[in-house]
Amino acid sequence: MKATAKKNGVKVIAGEYYDGFWSVPGSSSYVAIMVEDAGGEYLVKNSAPSTIQMNKEAFAELFKNAQYWRKLTPMNWKAQSLRKEDVEAEFAVFPVHLKGILYCDVNKTSYFEQALLHPDLELQDLITELSGGEGKNFYRLIPVD
């Protein structure tokens, strides 16, 4: 069964920074399909099913149009809210339209154990948060001023 939300045109980017490179899920990846099914628009357009390594500038080019950044990392990030300057300074990206970070801390949630078995729960989170609500399962929204 495939459940999809009505398209809301919210632009989403995903990716993690590793020592000079951005690891970014391709446009046919699980993440991209989830975002599209949640009604959002995934900004990477390369039809790659797996993660690709991007240079800082190529990622910054996509990031400047993003409204939400889906960030999945085991790092214990304590930020409750962020200023755009913090994002710019820490990640060398230009957050022109960024409203928030859809953040999943895999140490505190059972993302890897549950999300693949219950993609509906992840989709529920993404639909809620891309519509401005608060997800209950894996993600929490860190607003960016």
Binding site: Y17, Y18, D19, G20, F21, S23, N46, I52, Q53, M54, N55, K56, E57, A58, A60, E61, K64, T73, P74, M75, W77, E88, E90, F91, A92, F94, V96
Partner: protein
Amino acid sequence: MTSIKDILLKEKRKFRLWMLILLLVITVFSILELSLGSAGISFVEVFSPQNEYAEFVLREIRIPRLLTAILIGAALSFSGLVLQTVFRNPLVGPSVLGISSGASLGVALVTMAGFSLGHSDIPKVFAAILFSMSVLLLLFSVAGRFRDNASVLIVGMLISYLAGAVVDILIFVSDNDALKEYTLWGMGSFSRMNYGEILVVATLLLVAYIIVYKNRHLMNLYLIGELDEVNEKRKKRLIFLLIIVAGIITAFVTAFCGPIAFIGIAIPNLMRFVLKISDHKYLLPGTVLLGAAVAVMCDLLSAMPWSDHSLPVNAVTSLFGIPIIVFMIFKSRHKSL
């Protein structure tokens, strides 16, 4: 008959011509590096950005990367030349003393132990410097017991193997994220340094260069074996100073950019081949400039401005450096340094 004065004058002219060519090459590559990329910043915008985003890309991404490439290329080539002189061996590079391996071990311990401060590189840089300097001190504690430099070289290589073994164990027990972080660090990148770090390495390199350049005559004498006979104490002091200087430069470069392969070995050889002289008065500035030019060229290729992807800079420097080293091995069968 050609006099020695004519030969020296000819050498000087040739050196000046090559310096001019290298400065021109660095300028051209620098402009290309600043104007090519996914952000679509035009050549004119490099000098006068038209919007905030173009200004951001130049200030935060392209200019630090260009400065890093110039600096690291110069530093590694300088360090390689100094070590090749110390060991009187053209196939020696900054990595042979085990300093890079020490840095790798430090970073591996930090990464695999999961110790991080947000996205800050400080723990990694600190560990890399600590471990590489520890290797350097260890080398010196044993170096005094050996009569020849080759033994120091062997100890350095053994330290590399030891560090590699510990890193292998850490890799074997680490999780995917830590493994990925360490692997990408090991591939090297010129995109990691900020302006503060660039200033630190630039200052170190400048001081190191002045120290080594002041000793250029002694280095020339040492290279042809004259110093061995004249003054054994002075020779030991010179070697100690050169290894310390090269070691510190390698440690800081590896800490900030990861281990960058082959620049340190290939560039001094290429400069010797181009100038056809072994006088450090010419080799030192020449190697530094050629290293900077080649590093910028390698970075330009690794960034692949025509694509969203990028290649690890180590892969490109290896593709460039290995043919030169193979050439040198064949050449060294007929002629010594």
